[in-house]
């Protein structure tokens, strides 16, 4: 759907050049929700704005459905943009138009006949749950309602791609959740590809299929959300995950003696498991087959999109050799093991 190759963007400001994107390459598949996460100033907005050419890339290529959008002339670009919806952190609704007319706006631009357009607007306002607000002006809506209008407006021209620039960052957690649910529904119902940027790992966790982590103008890590959650490769990814899943190891655990009172060896491990394996009796097998005792120190189960995702911090106690065999066994059961302290 979207193929970005070696995308570079340099802003020229008096006295200096700002490298906002440094050789970014990325692939977004049709029908998926792809998230890009990064800290403030990492280059997220620049990246998403290059995709509909609100920002002209300095170098690199962007293919959308096989078409090189960076070489489009003005007219081609306008037509292409009509098929790429976009929603914004601050909604950007026209205060001079009612809710209905705001959603009508892109249809006027695309010169959709009035009657057909009116039907579509009514349908969309129902879809986003604002059928009773058609004649109201945006100033009378709450933030969440405004974003719903923004979503309806972005969908009006039947786009094949939806870009979301921090779409929930101005909303409270509850409203964020409802907007994310709406985006997930739309992705399902319309098989619409969604590319979103955020600095909130909860957004990635709740609705994204795949994620890319951007740090200092570069993509440092990318993959399935579950993989990144269970096995983050970079410090940036790890710190984002720690904002939603507790990965801290209490200091007193790390300072425990390496052998217990009876002289048996101990190891501190973190087990993360995804989906089905959460139900297997692996801990009891550990005790029975390897004579390794497991002390549960910390645990939690979360959801990543629709899949259960759990984390257990265990203290394993037993003979040294048995401990290693036990860990191998856990790994063979598809669990992800991280040894925190040997």
């Amino acid at each position: 759907m979207i193929e970005i190759k070696d995308l570079t963007k340099i802003y020229h400001v008096p006295g200096q050049e700002i490298l906002a994107l440094d050789n970014v390459s990325l692939c977004v598949k049709k029908g998926e929700i792809f998230g890009i996460i990064g800290l403030s100033g990492a280059g997220k907005s620049t990246l998403i704005r290059c995709i509909n050419m609100l920002e002209k890339p300095t170098a690199g290529s962007i293919l959308i459905d096989g078409q090189e959008i960076t070489t489009f002339n003005n007219k081609q670009l306008r037509l292409a943009r009509q098929k790429i919806g976009m929603i914004f952190q601050h909604f950007n609704l026209l205060s001079s138009r009612t809710v209905f007319d705001n959603v009508m706006f892109p249809l006027e631009i695309a010169k959709v006949p009035r009657g057909e357009a009116g039907k579509r607007v009514t349908g969309l306002l129902e879809l986003v749950g604002l059928a009773d607000k058609t004649k109201v002006y945006p100033a009378q809506l709450s933030g969440g309602q405004k974003q719903r209008v923004g979503i309806a407006r972005a969908l009006a021209n039947h786009p094949k791609l939806l870009l979301c620039d921090e779409a929930t960052s101005a909303l409270d957690p509850q409203t964020t959740r409802s907007i994310l649910e709406l985006l997930k529904d739309i992705n399902h119902q319309l098989n619409l590809t969604i590319l979103l940027i955020t600095h909130d790992m909860n957004v990635i966790r709740q609705i994204c299929d795949r994620v890319a982590v951007i740090d200092n103008s570069r993509i440092v890590e990318a993959g399935d959300v579950l993989d990144v959650f269970s096995n983050p490769q970079t410090p940036t990814a790890r710190s984002f995950i720690s904002t939603v899943i507790n990965r801290e190891i209490p200091a007193e655990l790390l300072h425990r003696p390496e052998t217990d009172n009876n002289g048996a060896a101990t190891k501190l491990i973190r087990v993360s498991f995804i989906g089905a394996s959460a139900g297997e009796p692996v801990i009891s097998s550990l005790v029975q087959k390897y004579a390794v005792h497991a002390n549960i120190l910390y645990g939690n189960i979360d959801r990543v999109k629709d899949t259960p995702f759990g984390n257990l911090t265990l203290e394993l106690i037993g003979e040294s050799a048995k401990l290693d065999a036990g860990i191998d066994y856990l790994q063979s059961r598809g669990l992800n093991i991280e040894v925190l302290k040997a």
């Binding site: 509909n52 609100l54 670009l77 306008r78 037509l79 292409a80 943009r81 009509q82 790429i84 976009m86 914004f88 601050h90 950007n92 026209l94 205060s95 001079s96 138009r97 706006f105 892109p106 006027e108 631009i109 695309a110 002006y137 100033a139 407006r153 021209n157 870009l163």
Partner: protein, 236 residues
């Protein structure tokens, strides 16, 4: 002050008795002023509005960014605006004569009034349109809007309340300018006040003119404020 006013008021009945023509000539002069100002406001917007739009949209980073055009138009506007109206009026007499045939009279006054108001209107429009949130323009661009779409469907409708206030300010300014034009034979209240009030020391005519001017200005401002407030309150 009160003495002057009560003196004037006391003199009024006697004055109107011996000068029965006054109410009629005040009415005619008022009407001349109104249509002089109305026409020049209207025509100055025909040219000033597009000029203001061009000044905004050709600015750096805007939808039709064009440094050359922006700077040239900007300096022309500044040039005209820096000439005091009373001098401008005399300066363009040849042009007025060319267009209207004579430099004297109400119709002739419309030429300098309009020409002086165009750059003023352009700056007012520019200021109003500059206020529009860049996010709105970007949102429209992201939908594939053309520059024309953005001007007609975003910039002007969003700026409507302040554009309307701008029309009121322009009109009021032109009422003042038209009085100046009146002094050099432009007709309207200015001419009346000047000939009868200043040259013949008819204080009453002066004061009546002043009162009519005050009423005109008040009326225009109230109309502008009212319209702008009505639109703004709907959107609030």
């Amino acid at each position: 002050m009160t003495e002057i006013i009560s003196g004037l008021l006391a003199g009024l009945p006697a004055f109107f008795e011996t000068n029965a023509w006054v109410p009629e000539s005040v009415a005619i002069a008022t009407w001349e002023t109104i249509y002089m100002v109305a026409f020049s406001t209207g025509i100055s917007y025909v040219f000033g509005l597009p000029l203001g739009v061009i000044l905004v949209t050709t600015d750096e980073g805007h939808i039709l960014a064009n440094k050359g055009v922006n700077q040239i138009l900007g300096s022309i506007v500044n040039m005209v605006r820096s000439i005091p109206f009373i001098i401008f009026l005399i300066l363009i007499i040849p042009l007025t004569r060319l267009i209207v045939g004579t430099p004297i009279g109400t119709i002739a006054s419309i030429v300098p009034l309009t020409l002086a108001a165009i750059p003023f209107v352009a700056r007012l429009v520019e200021t109003a349109l500059k206020e529009i949130d860049r996010g709105l323009i970007e949102a429209a661009q992201s939908m594939g809007a053309s520059a024309w779409d953005i001007i007609a469907k975003v910039l002007i409708p969003e700026a409507k309340p302040s554009l309307i206030l701008g029309v009121a300010i322009t009109t009021i300014n032109l009422v003042g300018y038209s009085a100046m034009a009146g002094i050099v034979g432009g007709g309207g209240l200015g001419t009346l006040a000047y000939y009868y009030g200043y040259q013949r020391y008819e204080d009453v005519i002066m004061w009546v003119t002043v009162v009519v001017l005050i009423l005109l200005v008040q009326g225009v401002q109230m109309l502008g404020d009212g319209l702008a407030a009505r639109i703004a309150s709907k959107r609030r």
